[in-house]
């Protein structure tokens, strides 16, 4: 995988993970243009497209688009399930995840992704193992800042649209 982007329906980038070395300018330009391309596509269209010299796989979950640019020889369908598994991990960790969770806890979203994918390849596909690793890390954390907060969106927001 070359990179993964999460962005909102309004085109705001929520998470970006680059597995190939690119300059900041280049990343911003690529991100901006790809987001526009995908937002311009209709709902029932194919999840795969050839864009420039990239193979792109994307899927929309509620208000968020998950989009991966993969290598020529990578498998499109399994990439769709990489996305889904990541969504499941976020969902399990945050408990019915929504876009705001990812905005306010962006660092957690990155940590979970690093446990799941490393260097653009699946590192651990077991949901239990990934979550255990994250939970263990949280155990090492003092909990004094933790507080309960009301859910901002309805639990149904995690559903693929």
């Amino acid at each position: 995988m070359r990179f993964m982007l999460l962005f909102s329906r309004q085109g705001k980038l929520r998470l970006q993970k680059w597995y190939v070395p690119l300059g900041d300018q280049e990343k911003r330009r690529l991100g901006r243009e790809l987001v526009q391309t995908i937002l311009g596509r209709k709902a029932k269209m194919c999840s795969f497209l050839e864009w420039r010299d990239l193979k792109v796989v994307y899927k929309r979950y509620a208000s968020l688009y998950f989009c991966c640019a993969i290598e020529e020889q990578d498998n499109e369908l399994i990439t769709l399930e990489v996305i889904h598994r990541y969504v499941e991990l976020l969902d399990k960790y945050f408990g019915s995840v929504c876009e705001l969770d990812i905005i306010f806890n962006f660092e957690k979203a990155y940590f979970i992704l690093d446990e799941f994918l490393l260097g653009g390849e699946a590192q651990e596909t077991s949901k239990k193992s990934v979550l255990k690793a994250i939970e263990q890390a949280d155990q090492l954390t003092s909990t004094c800042y933790q507080q309960a907060s009301p859910r901002i969106t309805s639990p149904t927001c995690y559903e693929h649209a």
Binding site: Q16, P21, D24, R41, K42, K44, M45, C46, S47, F48, L49, E50, Q73, N75, E76, L77, I78, L80, E81, V82, H84, R85, Y93, F94, L100, D101, I103, F104, N105, F106, E107, K108, Y110, F111, D114, L118, G119, G120, E121, A122, Q123, E124, T125, S126, K127, K128, S129, A133, A137, D138, L140, T141, T143, C144, Y145, Q146, Q147, S149, P150, I152
Partner: protein, 929 residues
């Protein structure tokens, strides 16, 4: 109220994020960010005793600001400080910042590497993983220099925790991709390969990505992974859906690992070990079978995971390209997907079938889906799917369906998306040229192309149609008539005017007899377009006008009038002005004879690669256009502008289908003409596969296999393999793909003996690395006809010992054939003309191979002649014609092959104007059937 997370919330951060979200405008956001940056800067500068939590919070804020798209130029040092914190979350944020905002500041890199080194040696798996993640995320050369030696040790050490192994494997992969020279597996190779056997599925899943990448670069060192991968795959495929517990994904056992295993196997040829291969074929069959079983879940995740494995298995089957049964099953499966309700599956099926179409085993099976694919091109709502359908139509096109496919692509062009029009135009132009049997169809197609999508017709395309019309005298009249009609349209594309101007200027005389297209009508038609055209087109038209003066003296006065007008002779454009002045002068002072000489019909264009093909290759990049498949068609399309008495100028080289029987080296057979040949032809794959004989030190006449084909493996032993790729045009041959791939380093000076051939070689590198390929190009010119093949003498040193291999180059007289199409009457007339006894050579011999019609046809086409239909009164017989092009002379050759199926015998008769040619061809061919 902002949402605050589990774990440790950072309240200040949440408030800041909330503020940013509440900003009503971009300006307000920037203002808020600047305020925060100032605040953080003062905190970092002022209060030396900033606690870990605050530092973490501010670093996190900086990261957030950066991810919003703003530049950050400070805070790196504070982030590095966090790395050495003994609080996990502080360390974690430090690493995240470094991963995202790595800075090439060398002082900083040293500090970062120090911190990483400490964590790697901490023996705390959580810290080790953090450090490895950071290395994998940054992946810089500095990091590779510092850690590429250490990580393999961590990866294979017995006491390393599984989670650390997983991170180490992928970390190493990233470093290897960035700096392959720094990652040396060496002594670790076998232990890394054995990670495929690890009990922990997660470790296997991570390690296999590394192994796959390493195998691509060093296939020999890692080849033991094949049998391990097969047994691992076999265990997964045969396991029940719950056996693998958490590695089962929606009832599919280990889909990620399965896909990666199948991908790894694609780095290698089919396993040589029969048992391993049997097991693998069983796996592939099971996967194909499972596709037919009812789904275990209705969830899309289930079908995606299952089909991901299925597509990967199909890729492997296509990669092997050796199991006709599996290939056909794969094709049928994809055929089902073509009609699936899921757009994604239709897309992938179209894509996958494209590669299947180039396999000779499945090409026909793919073709049966033509209607579905055409339907997809017409009805798919998503342009990316339509694009795939167009690609597939292009890939499955051959002579039998070219007219239908070209017609469908043309009609699709009328409504095609702008983004893909140019490519579509190129493809239509290429197919039309490649498979044209009659030129009127070709001309119609290209003119339609200009009419429908003129803006997207690049120069290469219209140059090409002109080249072909110029080089083919039987299409010139038709072209003139058609282009004249096309120009009648009130609005026609400028490209049409260009083609029209050029063709009428050359061949307008061919239609001038018809009063509806008399010279003046033609001129007025062209000139009516003149004022709407750009300067280059006007210049072209002026040249057409002067040609008119030569062709039709009656137009001279009218045209001189035009040239003399101020708008031409005083045109502000220098080029137009100059042409007008010169042409006017030329037409006034030159005598008819001089004019006729100066303005003579254009000579045929020299032969070269079709420029449109080159353009498509360039556009799509190498590898995207299946080149072999393109060349495949050249033979069939070869008559388009090859052959004929005029000196053909084919841009298409005579390259018959690449052989599938590349490795089927046969034991040597005697050269003597009457002896039966053990040589196998490419078409014999089914009947003779697996009969490969031992490699000989001298190929003697293994070259007989190359009489009817141009590519293949000429020689192979333990040290090296020599492959041949060749192209011939008239009396010139090129063997550009003469390649040797060798196991050990060796040196290859080579010498060639030649007689009636002029053979030139280009020097090669003196040293060949093991496993590497070198190419040596041989250019061959046929001076006069010849019987003895040139010899290739290869001398090299291997392990100190001098090796000497002498090979007969598969260059035979028939390679210099140009096919000649002719009607029955012409054929018999010429046959009679060549009736002197020495002009004929005849042999009656027993069939050495099957007498299948298609096979025979393929061989005769491979020979280089044109196979003439409906000439011989007996439909069982084959009749061919061609011209052997040598530098000194051209030798017309007629061939007749009469099979007698009952007696399993052939009678072969050759007639040519030169006795040695008849004799030699007869000898050569008697070995082939």
């Amino acid at each position: 109220m902002p949402a605050v997370s589990k774990g440790d919330g950072m309240r200040g951060l949440a408030v800041f994020i909330s503020d940013i979200r509440n900003c009503k405008s971009k300006e307000a956001e920037i203002k808020r960010i600047n305020k925060e940056l100032a605040n953080i800067r003062s905190k970092f500068k002022g209060d030396k005793a900033l606690d870990g939590y605050s530092k973490k919070k501010y670093v996190c804020k900086l990261l957030f600001i950066f991810l919003l798209g703003h530049d950050i130029d400070f805070g790196h040092m504070e982030a590095v400080n966090l790395l050495s914190s003994n609080k996990y979350t502080e360390k974690q944020i430090g690493y995240l910042f470094i991963s995202v905002l790595v800075n090439s500041n060398s002082e900083l890199i040293r500090l970062i590497n120090n911190a990483i080194k400490n964590d790697l040696s901490s023996r705390n798996p959580t810290f080790m993983c953090l450090a490895l993640h950071c290395i994998a995320n940054v992946g810089s050369r500095e990091m590779a220099e510092a850690f590429a030696g250490e990580i393999p040790r961590i990866l294979v050490a017995g006491d390393t925790m599984d989670s650390v192994k997983q991170s180490a494997a992928l970390c190493l992969l990233r470093l290897y991709k960035a700096s392959p020279d720094l990652v040396l597996m060496g002594e670790w190779t076998s232990r890394v390969v054995h990670l495929l056997n690890d009990q922990h599925m997660g470790v296997v899943t991570a390690a296999i990505s590394l192994i796959t990448c390493l195998s691509q670069k060093n296939p020999d060192e890692f080849k033991t992974c094949v049998s391990l991968a097969v047994s691992r795959l076999s265990r997964i495929v045969s396991s029940a859906s719950t056996d693998l517990q958490d590695y089962t994904y929606y009832f599919v056992p280990a889909p990620w690992l399965s896909c990666k295993l199948l991908r790894l196997l694609q780095c290698y040829p089919p396993p040589e070990d029969g048992a391993v291969k049997g097991r693998l074929v069983e796996c592939l069959e099971t996967i194909l079978n499972k596709a037919q079983e009812p789904p275990k879940s209705k969830k899309v995740q289930h079908s995606n995971a299952k089909n991901a494995i299925l597509f990967e298995a199909i890729s492997l089957i296509i990669h092997y390209d050796s199991e006709p049964n599996l290939l056909v099953r794969a094709c049928n499966q994809l055929g089902q997907f073509l009609q699936h309700r899921e757009t994604n599956l239709r897309y992938l099926a179209l894509e996958s079938m494209c590669t299947l179409a180039s396999s000779e085993f499945s090409h026909e099976a793919v073709k049966t889906h033509i209607e579905t694919v055409i339907n997809a091109l017409k009805t798919e709502r998503d342009v990316s799917v339509r694009q795939r359908a167009a690609d597939l139509l292009y890939a499955m096109c051959d002579r039998s369906n070219a007219k239908q496919i070209v017609a469908e692509m043309l009609s699709y062009l009328e409504t095609a998306d702008y983004s893909i029009r140019e490519e579509m135009v190129l493809k239509v132009a290429i197919l039309a040229e490649k498979y044209a049997v009659d030129y009127s169809w070709y001309v119609d197609t290209i003119l339609n192309l200009i009419r429908i999508a003129g803006d997207y017709v690049s120069e290469e395309v219209w140059y090409r149609v002109i080249q072909i019309v110029i080089n083919r005298d039987d299409v010139q009249g038709y072209a003139a008539k058609t282009v004249f009609e096309a120009l009648q349209a009130p609005a026609c594309h400028e490209n049409m005017v260009k083609v029209g101007g050029y063709i009428l200027g050359e061949f307008g005389n061919l239609i001038a007899g018809d009063p509806r297209s008399s010279p003046l009508v033609q001129f007025n038609l062209l000139h009516s377009k003149f004022h709407l055209c750009s300067v280059p087109t006007r210049a072209l038209l002026l040249s057409a006008y002067i040609k008119f003066i030569n062709l039709f003296p009656e137009t001279k006065a009218t045209i001189q009038e035009v040239l003399r007008s101020d708008s031409q002779i005083r045109n502000s454009d220098v080029e137009l002005q100059q042409r007008a002045v010169e042409y006017l002068k030329l037409s006034s002072i030159a005598s008819t004879d001089v004019l006729a000489t100066v303005l003579e019909e254009m000579p045929p264009f020299p032969e070269r690669e079709s420029s449109i093909l080159a353009k498509l290759k360039k556009k799509k990049g190498p590898g995207v256009v299946p080149v072999s498949e393109l060349e495949d068609g050249k033979r069939e399309g070869g008559e388009l502008n090859g052959g004929g008495d005029r000196g053909p100028d084919s841009a298409m080289s005579s390259t018959p289908s690449p052989s599938a029987d590349l490795l089927g080296l046969r034991s040597a057979a005697p050269v003597s003409a009457a002896a039966p040949s053990a040589g196998s032809l490419l078409v014999d794959v089914f009947s003779e596969s697996g009969a490969g004989g031992p490699a000989a030190a001298v190929n003697d006449d293994g070259f007989l296999r190359f009489v009817c084909k141009n590519n293949g493996v000429l020689f192979e032993n333990q040290l090296l393999q020599i492959g041949i790729k060749s192209e011939y045009r008239q009396n010139l041959g090129e063997l550009p793909g003469f390649s040797a791939s060798a196991v050990p380093p060796l040196s290859v000076p080579s010498g060639l003996g030649d007689g009636d051939l002029n053979v030139q070689t280009k020097p090669v590198e003196p040293l060949v690395e093991g496993g590497a390929q070198v190419q040596q190009v041989l250019n061959i010119e046929c001076i006069t006809d010849f019987s003895e093949a040139p010899q290739l003498n290869i001398k090299f040193r291997y392990g100190g010992a001098l090796q000497n291999i002498t090979l007969k180059l598969p260059v035979t007289i028939n390679k210099f054939f140009q096919p000649t199409e002719m009607a029955a009457t012409d054929f018999f007339q010429r046959w009679k003309q060549l009736s002197q006894p020495q002009q004929e050579a005849q042999k009656i011999f027993k069939a050495n191979h099957g007498m299948d019609t298609e096979v025979l046809k393929a061989k005769l086409l491979g020979l280089g002649t044109a196979l003439l239909e409906n000439v011989d009164p007996n439909p069982e017989n084959y009749v061919c014609a061609g011209v052997v092009q040598t530098k000194s002379q051209q030798v017309g050759v007629l061939l007749r092959l009469e099979p007698n199926a009952q007696a399993q015998m052939y009678r072969l008769t050759l007639r040519s104007s030169k006795d040695t040619v008849s004799k030699r061809l007869c000898d050569l061919l008697a070995e082939q059937f």
